[in-house]
């Protein structure tokens, strides 16, 4: 890695690094306690996360006023002029064509500002030659195209992703029109059945993007762009993936004391979390897990989960008695 003189000096200057860190912390405090952040929090509190539509409406009211965006960018620019090593105190939201910062987040929504790079978009389209995927996020999203870059969006539709989603019934996605987007336009996309791609753009896009967490589908779904066929799905909510990883870790550590806490997730709204948790409980303490497994086989709302539970019961019934494995 080749680094410039300024960066070399900063890397050798502990006091300078602490000053940069202090500047970042001060910026975070000013933003988090400032009027714009409070306005978002108040709008969210007023809607109470009642449903996805209510959360989207609350965000729309904040998106219609661009003063907070100008203030935030001016503040970031001033901080960078004071210290070129200033690091904005926001989580990054990057993809191969888009770079963004998550500037607000609570239990109902996350809000990011970002730029879609026209050159990277062109390179991606050129490399894929029309191939690729259409992703349905599983979340209601609200986008404000502060600068639309002369973009035309191609819209896609798919069967609604519900709590009873399965690969076998995912269906296909289809084109649902194409139209230009104007500067300042606010677009609501229901990622549970709608998606879009940028078909064409003449300049970078500057976009505010809100992802509504309320009423999200269990999974985000990917379809093949050329054929419309189902490709695969992933957890729409990162907390579902965290539960899966942590319960696996607890089982691998033989942490039987965690059994009741893990069993609480048997009522999780996502079918694949319920089955993952059931497997880990069986691995942790089969005796204690068996009544839960029987209940799941009889009453779980998702047919695949019921089917897997019944298959597990049959295998247990057919298994030879052995000494219980050591934890």
């Amino acid at each position: 890695m080749i680094i410039g003189t300024d960066l070399r000096s900063w890397l050798d200057d502990g006091a300078g690094q602490r000053r940069s860190r202090t500047g970042t912390d001060a910026f975070a405090t000013t933003w988090n306690e400032g009027p714009h952040h409070h306005a978002f929090a108040a709008a969210m509190a007023a809607c109470g996360g009642r449903d996805a539509e209510a959360v989207a409406a609350a965000i729309r009211s904040r998106f219609e006023d661009e003063a907070w965006v100008r203030d935030l960018i001016d503040s970031l620019a001033a901080a960078l002029r004071r210290d070129p090593h200033f690091e904005p105190p926001f989580r990054h939201m990057n993809s191969d064509i888009h770079r963004g910062l998550v500037v607000y987040e609570d239990e109902y929504a996350s809000i990011a500002i970002g730029v879609t790079d026209i050159h990277q978009l062109a390179a991606k389209k050129s490399a894929r030659s029309g191939r690729g995927s259409i992703n349905f996020s599983g979340h209601v999203e609200l986008l404000k195209f502060v600068k639309a870059g002369g973009a035309r969006l191609a819209f896609w539709a798919a069967p609604p992703i519900t709590e009873s989603f399965s690969a076998a019934t995912a269906g296909r996605c289809v084109r649902a029109g194409e139209r230009p987007i104007a500067d300042g336009e606010i677009l609501q996309v229901d990622g549970r059945c709608e998606s879009f791609v940028i078909a064409h753009a003449a300049a970078n896009l500057f976009v505010l993007q809100a992802t509504v967490k309320t009423d999200c589908a269990p999974v985000g779904v990917e379809y093949d762009k050329a054929t419309g066929d189902y490709v695969g799905c992933s957890a729409a909510d990162d907390s579902a993936s965290r539960i899966q990883m942590i319960t696996t870790l607890l089982r691998k550590l033989g942490c039987e004391a965690a059994f009741p806490a893990i069993a609480d997730f048997l009522d999780h709204p996502s079918f694949f979390v319920r089955w993952h948790v059931m497997r880990e409980l069986l691995g942790l303490d089969a005796g204690a897990a068996l009544p839960h497994l029987k209940r799941m086989a009889a009453r779980d709302p998702h047919p695949e989960t019921r089917r897997a539970a019944r298959t597990a019961l049959d295998r247990i019934a057919a298994a030879p008695r052995t000494q219980r494995k050591a934890a």
Binding site: R91, H92, M93, N94, S95, V102, S137, F165, S166, A167, A168, P218, V219, G220, G232, C233, S234, A235, A236, D237, D238, A240, S241, R242, Q244, M245, I246, L249, L250, R251, L253, F271, F272, W275, R279, E280, L282, G283, A286, G287, A289, L290, E304, T305, R307, A308, T311, A312, L313, R315, I316, A317, A319, R321, T322, Q323, R324, K325
Partner: protein, 51 residues
């Protein structure tokens, strides 16, 4: 009739999977999950080793 479960050795890997395979959460959330989970695993291992 099911055998007494306390005498069963159940390997999680032998249990059935769902027909619908669901990958780990994607997008920027995946990066965050990875970071926090790494800390969680490190803490878990530290507790395990200290026992």
């Amino acid at each position: 009739m099911h055998p007494a479960p306390e005498h069963l050795a159940i390997e999680v890997e032998d249990l059935p999977e769902l027909e619908t395979e669901v990958s780990i959460s994607g997008s920027y959330q995946q990066q965050e999950t990875g970071g926090i989970i790494c800390i969680g695993i490190a803490a878990g291992l530290a507790i395990y080793i200290c026992r």
